[in-house]
């Protein structure tokens, strides 16, 4: 099981990614503490989604993976989003 042609992320990139993630965490804590009403939940989920995308792209090396794997991950997250939307449509309109 030899690993070939794999991208090697530099330490600088890893540190930068961590820094961005920590900044986003701080923003989400501050934003939620300001009590923005109905937008709070939406904002928290949006920031969490951005953080998750960054982890997937850089720490989990998706940016450097083949197209098939990237499409698979995208499809699964799309499927998950559809499941959530359908659950809520069912819940609100029954």
């Amino acid at each position: 099981m030899k690993n070939h042609d794999n991208h090697i992320s530099s330490d600088t990139l890893n540190w930068t990614v961590l820094l961005v993630l920590l900044i986003l965490t701080t923003i989400s804590i501050l934003a939620i503490k300001m009590h923005l009403g109905t937008f709070t939940v939406l904002l928290a989920l949006l920031l969490a989604s951005v953080k998750v995308t960054i982890v997937l792209t850089y720490f989990m090396h998706l940016k450097f993976e083949n197209l098939l794997l990237r499409l698979m991950v995208g499809a699964v997250f799309l499927l998950f989003a559809i499941v959530i939307v359908i659950t809520f449509i069912d819940y609100y309109f029954r």
């Binding site: 099981m1 090697i8 953080k51 998750v52 982890v55 720490f59 083949n66 698979m72």
Partner: protein, 203 residues
């Protein structure tokens, strides 16, 4: 490239794809709980608001930082092994394990505090609470407990990886297990990124 080398290359790619397929099932395991949380939150908004005030956002934030840093150290250890720096790779995984320990100690005190207040599923105090609050604490223990179990499994996996690096079985040419272990650890981080705002921040 010889034919053996070619098949080995495919093995490494499929090995990684298999890990991703497993991670998808993990996503839906937690995803199901997230959906229950979302529906219950919209049904019992007031109870969830009240119950969430019991959680300590500072402890949650600390554990978020701990997990984010540990995610970076494990990513850096993979970089180190690819660059033939086995010692650095082992050191970085060791730091990751220490951070996992810090996370679990925080969790121990957090759960301990809740249990000392008799806020655990099935307790006498819990039975007197409104239905929505019982729901919140039930989900809190279920989701953080399942997540903590993943932290422990990830820790065991990373320990195995340290030994394999030491034995030379994981090296700059063969590091699929290291890669998959790192992917698993990042998943633990991913789930916490959603758990933290949903349970601790939004009240």
């Amino acid at each position: 490239m010889s034919s053996t080398e070619h098949s080995e290359h495919i093995d490494s790619d499929t090995g990684k794809m298999g890990m991703w397929l497993f991670l998808f099932t993990e996503l839906f395991l937690f995803g199901g709980l997230f959906i229950v949380y979302a529906v219950m939150r919209s049904k019992y908004a007031a109870d969830f608001h009240h119950a969430a005030l019991e959680l300590n956002a500072f402890v949650g934030a600390t554990n978020t930082v701990v997990l984010l840093v540990s995610s970076m150290t494990v990513a850096m250890s993979l970089t180190a092994i690819q660059q033939k720096r086995a010692g650095k790779a082992m050191g970085l995984i060791f730091i990751t394990l220490l951070l996992a320990g810090v996370f679990m100690v925080n969790k121990y005190f957090e759960w301990g505090h809740k249990i000392s207040l008799h806020l655990y599923p099935g307790s006498d105090v819990m039975k007197t609470l409104p239905h929505g609050e019982i729901m919140f604490f039930g989900l809190y223990f279920m989701m953080t407990g399942l997540h903590a179990l993943h932290v422990i499994i990830g820790g065991i996996l990373l320990t195995i990886i340290i030994f394999k690096i030491k034995e030379g079985k994981i090296n700059s040419e063969h590091y699929l297990l290291h890669e998959n272990g790192a992917l698993y650890w990042h998943l633990v981080d991913l789930i916490w990124i959603f758990l933290f705002p949903l349970l601790y921040l939004i009240t």
